[in-house]
């Protein structure tokens, strides 16, 4: 009975999506909207079997490649700067105002400048993804390292740890949740930036280019397939990262349990 109740409960949250899909299907069957605006989900699934599906798959691979290289570049830069600013008062005073000033510029406003300097090709896109990934990581590491409880720092002083050991044994583990949250945001922003850059620059191969090409050729099935790929990949990045974070931080959670 209880299990049935729970299934019913979880089924309820599927009501609206199912209704939306039905509405979608009905609006096509009853010709409320033209085929240039929406295609049936059967067509979207059918597009998986067309030769263009290979393009979507190719595009996905390229976008992920850009994401990885951009995030590695941007997040390591962000981590380095964040650590510098959090651990040195002088660096914070020197760099802080400029950092927060430059952060005010909306991300996509950098596209014209970045493409002018780095070109429309792979470099321009990677640098843009790196820019997107840089800020959340820097913010996350600053927050995390500043928030390390004083008592923990004092433990380091009592144990007479050297600066390197303090960083590795006390500061970084203490700041890990915040740093990982920053990295997760970096990945999400990077994903968005990679697709945005592909879409806006319009050259090369990528999921963004699939969307753009699909829109230009009125291939709604491809556009929707691309959208699904973007949404699912974003969700997958999030889910994998959540798992990873739980795994990496399990000592913390266990420790908290013992403390209670």
């Amino acid at each position: 009975m209880n299990a049935l109740h729970r299934t019913l409960l979880s089924a309820r949250s599927w009501l609206v999506p199912v209704a939306l899909v039905l509405l979608w299907e009905a609006s096509i069957r009853l010709h409320w909207v033209g085929p240039n605006v929406l295609t049936s989900w059967a067509d979207v699934l059918g597009a998986l079997r067309t030769p263009e599906a290979a393009e979507v798959w190719q595009g996905w691979l390229w976008t992920v490649r850009r994401l990885v290289s951009g995030v590695v570049l941007g997040a390591s830069g962000g981590l380095a700067l964040g650590m510098l600013m959090a651990l040195s008062g002088r660096a914070e005073r020197l760099i802080g105002p400029s950092f927060h000033g430059v952060r005010q510029v909306a991300l996509f406003a950098w596209i014209p400048l970045i493409t002018a300097w780095f070109g429309n090709g792979e470099w321009g896109k990677t640098v843009f993804v790196a820019t997107a990934a840089f800020y959340p990581m820097a913010m996350g590491s600053i927050d995390g390292l500043r928030g390390v409880p004083r008592a923990w720092r004092e433990v380091g002083a009592v144990l007479k740890l050297g600066p390197g050991q303090r960083l590795v044994r006390i500061l970084l583990p203490a700041a890990a949740p915040s740093i990982l949250a920053g990295l997760q945001l970096s990945l999400i922003y990077g994903w968005l930036a990679a697709i945005g850059a592909e879409y806006m620059l319009g050259v090369g191969i990528g999921l963004g280019n699939v969307l753009e090409a699909g829109r230009e050729q009125f291939r709604m099935d491809l556009v929707l397939l691309g959208l699904c790929a973007i949404g699912l990949s974003g969700a997958a990045i999030n889910a994998v990262f959540d798992r990873l974070r739980c795994h990496v931080l399990r000592w913390r959670i266990a420790g908290a349990g013992r403390a209670v």
């Binding site: 949250s13 609206v16 999506p17 802080g96 909306a106 996509f108 596209i111 400048l113 709604m220 959208l227």
Partner: protein, 296 residues
Amino acid sequence: MQPAVRSLAADVGAAEALIAAPGGVAQWTSPTRLAWPALSRVLRRLEGLGLPIAVLVLWAIAARQAWLPTQILPPPERVWEVLVDGLAGGDLLHALGVSLMRVLEGCLIGSALGLAFGVLLASSRVSEVLLYPTFKALAQIPTIGWLPLLMLVFGLEDALKLVIIAKSSFIPMAFNAFEGVRAIPDSLTEVGTVLRLNLRQRLLRLVLPGSLPALFTGQRLAISHAWKAMVAVEILVSTDGIGATMLAGRQFFQLDVVMACIVVIGVTGFLIDRAFVFVERRALRWRVAGNVEDRS
């Protein structure tokens, strides 16, 4: 300095003043010493200017020595001229006005709808179960992902820009309204029930003040997302506005225009956010006061 402090501290009246002084011993020094902390504080503030000045100087030297072609790296004074001329002559100012109006309009629509939706989600269990999972899943798709779909539905006109901006402010507002209303303590809700408040009273006296900080957070995020979405959508579908000006500058390889636009976008975004924080502090002053009372 120590003897001076000690001799003064011997004076009973001064000692009382020392205890009474809110800043404590820091202010309790001879005048000559007083000048130094102030000066060093000013110097510390100015340290932040060091990096921008260094970059500017390097940039100016690089431009003067023509290390890079002027097209790639216009001299800083040229960017400054474009900025001043554009703002004084009205080109940039006009573009900025167009963009600001667009952001305001879109954000107003988006956050009003988001507020209503968030309150609806939080106030009824049924609507939460029915709508929240779908909403959360759809909110995961970045605005840029919706663009091609929305382009086909709304064309490339102003409507598209408004919809995109409204959508980007809808989501943070809805999330925060939902969280804020749900976080209102049960005890307060029960007081409302005991007092038999009607729906209007409930909304105005309980829900609104109770969720106000979250609503402010939502609104602040909403306007900042709207601003960013505006930049993206204007670069992508450019007809007018600051993003279009910037893109035109890029196409003609006038990087001075591009850089001036970046400055305008950054400064305006910053000012909007500051203005918002200012209003938020004012509006939530009663809350902070209340918290202090609670603690004492």
